[in-house]
């Protein structure tokens, strides 16, 4: 930078700086308000930006949530598919009936098994099964 250039640029810089001192009062007040408003934004980040900054907290939670969703979506339906009788209300009721210690006498009666084989399982039959069991007992 030559001396002429330095003098020239210094003069421009001085004049530009002087022009900032001549900013009108209304604009200065607005600039002051803008600065206050900007400083109030400190720490006021949008919630989705905090997710990125708090990865240590969110990552395990997200992992657990993801695993839970995967379990509900894939593992439980697969179990149901491989053991359909386990989820059938009718069969469950039958087994509960048989396994109940109160109805031990019915379980030991061979007629009960003959009747059970002839009976097609359905919700209506469950009531008749219960009645039959109590009669047998």
């Amino acid at each position: 930078m030559t001396i002429d250039e330095k003098t020239f640029t210094e003069r421009i810089k001085t004049k530009l700086t002087d022009s900032t001192n001549d900013i009108d009062a209304d604009t200065q007040l607005r600039l002051h308000a803008i600065r206050r408003k900007a400083l109030q934004q400190s720490g006021k980040q949008a919630w989705w930006k905090n997710i990125g900054s708090n990865t240590k907290v969110w990552a395990p939670l997200a992992g657990v949530a993801f695993c839970s969703v995967m379990a509900v979506m894939f593992i439980l339906p697969a179990q149901q598919a491989t053991n359909p009788a386990a989820v059938s209300g009718e069969y469950t009721a039958m087994f509960e009936l048989v396994e109940s210690p109160e109805d031990f006498d019915a379980v030991t009666d061979p007629d009960f098994y003959l009747w059970l084989d002839e009976t097609k399982p359905s919700p209506n039959n469950l009531n008749s099964m219960n009645e039959a069991t109590s009669r047998t007992a």
Partner: protein
């Protein structure tokens, strides 16, 4: 952070005003730049605030110019000249002369008016590079970061801006 913003707010406003020619738009641009700096970079070291702030300011000014370009295209498309349109309306729509700011007419007003005129007529990037280098005192590297361009581009813009100002202000040189 408050001291930094207080120090630069007037210069930032004048830069934005020179770039836009509009006080309210300049204030909006300064506000956006300050808020973004505080929200995103307040935890950065204070030495990096100045180039970061001017990088944001520069980006906002460029966005403003892009929006203006699109708006002007629509306006020119919608306001096709009709036969009964007189020239008085066109004069009313013409933007105000940027050199007519009341705050620059105190001392050495003629020089300041010519300077403002020359700066406002400069291509935007030349204007910004010149102001960052001369007024803000950023070095070539920081100016390049703020402007998101290469250091050689900064040198080119700066030398061209200086040459234009020399020509525009030659009557004021000794």
């Amino acid at each position: 952070m408050e001291a930094f913003l207080a120090e630069i707010e007037r210069r930032a406003f004048r830069m934005a005003q020179l770039a836009t020619g509009n006080r309210d738009d300049a204030l909006d641009i300064v506000q956006d730049a300050m808020i973004k700096l505080v929200q995103k970079y307040s935890d950065h070291p204070p030495s990096s605030w100045k180039p970061l702030f001017y990088s944001i300011l520069e980006s906002r000014i460029m966005d403003w110019h892009r929006r203006q370009t699109v708006r002007n295209r629509f306006r020119s498309w919608l306001d096709k000249p009709s036969d009964d349109e007189d020239t008085e309306d066109r004069l009313e729509q013409h933007p105000a002369d940027i050199s007519s700011f009341p705050d620059i007419q105190l001392q050495d007003a003629e020089f300041m008016a010519h300077l403002n005129q020359a700066l406002s007529e400069m291509p935007l990037r030349q204007q910004q590079v010149f102001l960052l280098r001369i007024w803000e005192g950023l070095d070539i590297s920081d100016t390049a970061k703020a402007m998101q361009c290469s250091e050689s581009s900064v040198k080119t813009h700066y030398s061209r801006a200086l040459e234009k100002l020399r020509i525009a202000l030659k009557e004021f040189q000794p």
